[in-house]
Each structure stands twice: as structure tokens, then as C-alpha cells.
Subunit: 85 residues, 2 copies
């Protein structure tokens, strides 16, 4: 499964979220990570995110795709996908 | 075509980008929009974004999908998709 994760997390917690996701996914740009994950990895990622965020204030949206989607980049590509493929 | 657009744009220009995308797409959360677009709309959106951003400083990533992807939301859903479907 391929996931794109975008988050809107209070500055008090955002560094923990970023640090955690960086261990599992490719950082795309500010508040966006993506990558291929197994079902087990996906469940672990969600379980940890649940611990890191405040349910009543923060927001995480996870797009679940079959494979890496087509993309177009405009302006600066902050962290080119080529580096990990 | 279904697009998810994430941007990382300098605060000097970000309101213009947000205001423009809001006219065409569904606001998901901070710096993320998505929606169904025709090929013509997609080209117009890209042309305007090119004018609004600074190529050397800002970044826009557009994921191009066939249809609205599966998603999971954790915490607050800032702007539920149900409102537009």
C-alpha cells in the first residue's frame, strides 16, 4: 500500500510527529510524508500517531493508494523522490 | 482527474495561493486542497499557480489520481469531505 500523510498538528507536538514519520516515510515538504508501507507498518504508524496527536486539536489525513501516484512538482522540489527510489 | 495539491509557500504569497485554490478545490487542511478537475481546469490551475508562486522559493506538489482516494482521518477532520459530496 502507498500512503500520503498530511498533518496539521499544533506546534507543541509537531516535531514529535515529524520525527516519527521520518523514520518510516519519505518527507515531501512541510507537513507531508509519503511512502510504500506494508499493512502491518501502516497499523503501527497509525497506532503511534494516535499517541502523538491531540484528538481534539490536531488533524491527520492519510490517503491510501495502491501505488506511488503520478505527480507534478512546481517550484522547488524540497526532497526529490529520486533520492529514495 | 482527481488532484490532491499540497504546497509550501512563503507567508508573503500563501494567502493568494489559498484564496485561488479555494475557488476550484476542496480545502482539506492547512496547505492541502483536493478535488475532481477536468483536464482544462487542471491546466488553468497550474498556469495560475505558476504566476502566484516564486519558483525558487516555494513548492507545490500535485498528486494526480484517477478518482477520489480512500482516506483515513485521525483527530479533527478540519473540513469534512461530506460537505461537498
Amino acid at each position: 500500500m502507498y500512503v500520503v500523510i498530511v498533518y496539521d498538528v499544533n506546534v507543541k507536538r509537531v516535531n514529535n510527529v515529524k520525527k516519527f514519520l521520518r523514520q518510516h516515510l519519505h518527507w515531501v515538504q512541510n507537513s507531508v510524508f509519503e511512502g510504500e508501507v506494508t499493512k502491518a507498518e501502516f497499523e503501527r504508524i497509525k497506532a503511534t500517531l494516535r499517541e502523538l496527536i491531540d484528538d481534539e486539536e490536531d488533524s491527520v489525513v492519510i490517503y491510501k493508494l495502491r501505488s506511488m501516484p503520478a505527480r507534478e512538482v512546481m517550484g522547488v522540489e524540497k526532497n526529490p523522490m529520486g533520492d529514495v527510489i
